[in-house]
């Protein structure tokens, strides 16, 4: 009788469902239209001949099909209206093609899409960034290779993704790659983000803080006492389990490779090290200690370890004056948030200080991208829709902003103002398609996208761009790393306890659980990758 939420048992059940689903091949999601199976679709058979790669698929031959797009975000009230408009726009460009937008709440997105992929539900386009287990899923075959001539549908990118290849920054297509095969198409936007801090403009002006002196977290300390004394309603420092000021600190020269391993990028030919090595420990300890010190001094909110509040609510309430953040062109405008505190300016605006220049790494360049699920019933069509999202400005803006005069109003040639509570504002500008084709918001600078292009040209490229790690050979160690790392991460990120003993305890455990093996495997795969790619 007792209700127990047993994740393992649940997975087991799902795996059974999957087993049944495999034979039954239920058509759960696309039942709105009779979808063409890849084997019978004319586009598919055409694509088998090599010559097809250059010719446009004959549009009249397209069978009715609905392409499902899965992305994180709150489900939107006016979704259906927007979908209808999209279908209308597609009528001429891709006849017989419809699109279904599926927004899954951020908190559930990863688990839900993973279960769908596992159970073979027919998804088409799935938002699958690196930080949502993209590489492990791709290695397990969850996604279709997009540049593979031996695929039944042929080389999808070459045949149906010409618009993508022409518009996207070529660096992007080097990143979501495993053994030469491309598994996703990144969103065309800024290639990488820098790191830094954002300070609320009104506070900085009020107290005349010289934020240009801030190079690292510790440089903020002198301001905190002032805030504590003069602004009783503001937390001098705010952190919680989801968003900590320790989140986007500079990397101190160490590029993260995942699963607790790093490489010193400032030293040529440097070896992979683990987070338990003395050189890395020293960095971590200094920052964790600082946060604990602030906790003891009463700068940090006391409920940091336990609160379930969302940081945006606290920002809106005017209780936060600085945060740790990623940086890129237009970031200051994006941070603007409505003031709900009842006094002061209408919106809170922020000034950003950079502490780390952007570095284009595999994980940065794969931070926002779409993959085509292996279970897709018509991958060619999925690629055609994706292609249009990179080239068709009207289509993309409908997906991102909805319908003109219903969800937004035009205030300039390329500028819009979103209508409050209009029923469609998924906030997915950076998630999908070619962001440089998005309308600008009224508070964004006219030159935002020129800045992006410039930024992408000048951003430093990591020599390891394109390398990704396959954790499978050491998955026992990786599972241990996950348990141990998460056991201690919350407490370190929220500052209530002296980190010296905690870090020692954690590192002892990590060493014992075989983080050394992960380092070895990482080094091995990295060396192999370097040889294979001539680096």
């Amino acid at each position: 009788m007792k209700k127990r939420l047993k994740a393992p048992a649940l997975l087991l059940t799902l795996s059974m469902t999957a087993a049944i689903g495999l034979s039954a091949c239920g058509n759960n999601n696309n039942n709105a239209s009779p979808s063409a199976s890849p084997s019978t679709s004319p586009t598919a058979s055409e694509s088998n001949s090599p010559s097809a790669s250059s010719s446009e698929p004959a549009k009249t031959e397209l069978q009715p099909f609905e392409v499902s797009i899965y992305m994180p975000g709150s489900p939107q009230k006016d979704q259906v209206v927007v979908e209808e408009r999209i279908d209308e726009l597609l009528k001429d460009k891709l006849p017989n093609t419809k699109v279904s937008l599926n927004y899954i709440d951020w908190s559930a997105y990863l688990e839900k899409t993973n279960l769908m992929l596992q159970s073979g539900e027919p998804l088409d386009l799935v938002f699958a960034p690196e930080w949502y287990q993209f590489f492990s899923n791709a290695a397990k075959g969850a996604f279709l290779p997009l540049n593979d001539d031996s695929l039944a549908q042929g080389n999808l990118l070459a045949q149906y993704g010409k618009g993508i290849s022409e518009t996207i920054n070529p660096s992007y297509l080097q990143a979501p790659v495993i053994a030469g095969k491309l598994y996703a198409i990144p969103t065309n936007k800024e290639l990488a983000q820098g790191r830094g801090f954002a300070f609320r403009k009104d506070i900085v002006e009020k107290y005349n803080f010289d934020i240009s002196t801030v190079k690292d977290l510790k440089d903020i300390e002198p301001f905190l006492q002032v805030i504590k004394e003069k602004e009783p309603n503001i937390y001098p420092v705010y952190s919680n389990k989801q968003d900590s000021v320790l989140d986007w600190l500079q990397d101190y020269g160490y590029q993260q490779l995942g699963f607790g391993t790093y490489i010193n990028r400032t030293v040529e030919g440097s070896k992979v090290i683990s987070m338990t090595s003395p050189e890395y420990l020293a960095i971590e300890l200094a920052n964790d200690k600082l946060l604990n010190d602030w906790y003891k001094k009463g700068y940090l909110n006391k409920n940091a370890p336990t609160t379930q509040e969302k940081i945006d609510d606290i920002k809106s309430a005017g209780k936060i004056w600085f945060i740790s953040t990623t940086t890129s062109p237009g970031r200051e405008e994006a941070l603007r948030i409505k003031n709900n505190s009842g006094s002061g300016p209408e919106n809170f605006d922020w000034s950003i200080v950079n502490t780390q220049a952007p570095l284009v790494t595999t994980s940065q360049a794969t931070g926002s991208q779409f993959a085509i699920a292996r279970s897709s019933k018509d991958p060619a069509r999925a690629m055609m829709v994706l292609d249009l999202l990179y080239t068709d400005k009207e289509l993309l803006n409908t997906v991102v902003f909805g319908i003109q005069d219903k969800h937004y109003t035009k205030v300039g040639d390329n500028k819009i103002k979103q209508i409050a509570d209009s029923g469609y504002a998924p906030g997915n500008a950076w998630i999908i398609g070619n962001q440089l084709n998005n309308y600008l918001l009224d508070n964004e600078s006219d030159s935002k996208y020129e800045e992006y292009v410039e930024f992408n040209k000048t951003a430093e490229q990591s020599p390891l761009l394109g390398f990704s790690f396959n954790p499978d050979p050491v998955k026992t160690q990786v599972a241990s790393y996950n348990t141990i790392f998460t056991e201690f991460s919350d407490i370190l990120r929220t500052g209530p306890v002296d980190p010296v003993d905690i870090l020692k305890k954690r590192n002892d455990k990590l060493d014992k659980a075989g983080i050394g093996k992960i380092v070895e495997e990482m080094q091995k795969q990295l060396d192999e990758w370097k040889v294979a790619n001539g680096k």
Partner: protein
């Protein structure tokens, strides 16, 4: 279902008073039974279906635990990997700690809940006023139906480091406040209090039902012999519900390797610093595998849990049968 049977066994101490179902055994009478109790059987169907779908159907998936599942070959086509998926369960101290915590908590909860439920049952049995008995019972059962998420907020209201109820009291008495969510030593006690508060009322109902079925003549005879209330409880009530206690305990043995995920995950706010005393197999497995997305390893963990639970039920049943044959399950 088995619980219901056991009550009947106790209640109908005299064979001729037992309902038909116990007197007429054998396949020949099955059809007649079905007819006689068709209403009961119909009511049984939904439960049976849930049981089949949730507990029996997944058994076919056991083989997943021995596979390295990938999406290309599908579940059936993926390569076999022997016991490789089980390795992580024994590969570090955390796994052992989780097993230790799980077993200790299960045993503690099981024994304390039984002791408290029987005590509460005895007390209710002594209550004269039917009205009060009903009111008390309802109030005690209520927490059983709270979701653990709700409980976690109630607990947070008590233990929050900022204005939590208990810390306010401690402060007013001049005692230093305690940071509950980062001090692991207090949590065994907290868990016990929560479990008892949540489950005792519900378990007590079963015992009260058992006690209600005891023939009043025993008590009348005892009163004539001058037995006190305490003596009656000790020498009549407790021995009469002994089979019930044994069977309920036996059944809960199956869950000794399983823990209430909500209690250990939600109520602790999944606070890592508390894991020394709060990490159990379910939370450990969840944490290890949520980031790895490997259904083979998740299945391995579930399979191990159920196998150990099954073995425990079988072996404790053997022990009980040795001691007192009629009290064993089968």
């Amino acid at each position: 279902m088995a619980t219901q049977t056991s009550i009947d066994r106790t209640v109908y101490a005299d064979k001729k008073d037992r309902p038909l179902v116990y007197r007429q055994r054998g396949a020949t009478t099955l059809a007649r039974n079905l007819m006689t109790y068709k209403a009961l059987y119909v009511m049984f169907i939904p439960g049976l279906l849930v049981l089949l779908v949730n507990n029996y159907l997944p058994i076919f998936g056991v083989f997943v635990a021995f596979k390295d599942v990938n999406y290309i070959d599908g579940i059936f086509g993926s390569p076999w990997v022997g016991f490789h998926n089980f390795e992580f369960l024994f590969s570090n101290d955390d796994a052992i700690r989780a097993v230790r915590n799980t077993v200790l908590y299960s045993v503690t909860f099981m024994s304390l809940t039984t002791v408290f439920a029987v005590t509460v049952g005895l007390l209710f049995n002594e209550l004269r006023s039917r009205l009060f008995a009903k009111v008390y019972q309802s109030l005690m059962i209520l927490p059983y139906f709270f979701s653990m998420v709700v409980v976690s907020y109630l607990v947070l209201a008590f233990l929050s480091p900022q204005g939590g109820f208990i810390n306010v009291i401690l402060k007013s008495m001049g005692i230093a406040e305690i940071d509950w969510y980062s001090s692991s030593q207090y949590w065994p006690t907290i868990f016990i209090v929560i479990t008892l508060w949540k489950n005792v009322g519900y378990s007590a109902v079963v015992y009260i039902a058992g006690m209600a079925g005891i023939d009043p003549e025993y008590y009348e005879a005892a009163v004539i012999d001058g037995a006190s209330r305490w003596q009656q409880a000790k020498s009549i009530t407790l021995p009469m519900i002994r089979p019930l206690i044994i069977i309920l305990t036996l059944l809960s043995m199956a869950n000794i390797f399983v823990s209430d995920f909500g209690l250990f995950y939600q109520v602790t706010l999944n606070s890592g610093i508390l894991y020394d005393t709060t990490d159990v197999i379910d939370t450990f497995v969840y944490r290890s595998l949520i980031n790895l997305n490997d259904i083979g390893m998740a299945s391995a963990a579930a399979l191990l849990q159920s196998t150990v639970g099954f073995a425990l039920v079988l072996s404790s049943n053997v022990v009980v049968r040795k001691i007192s044959k009629e009290d064993s399950l089968f």
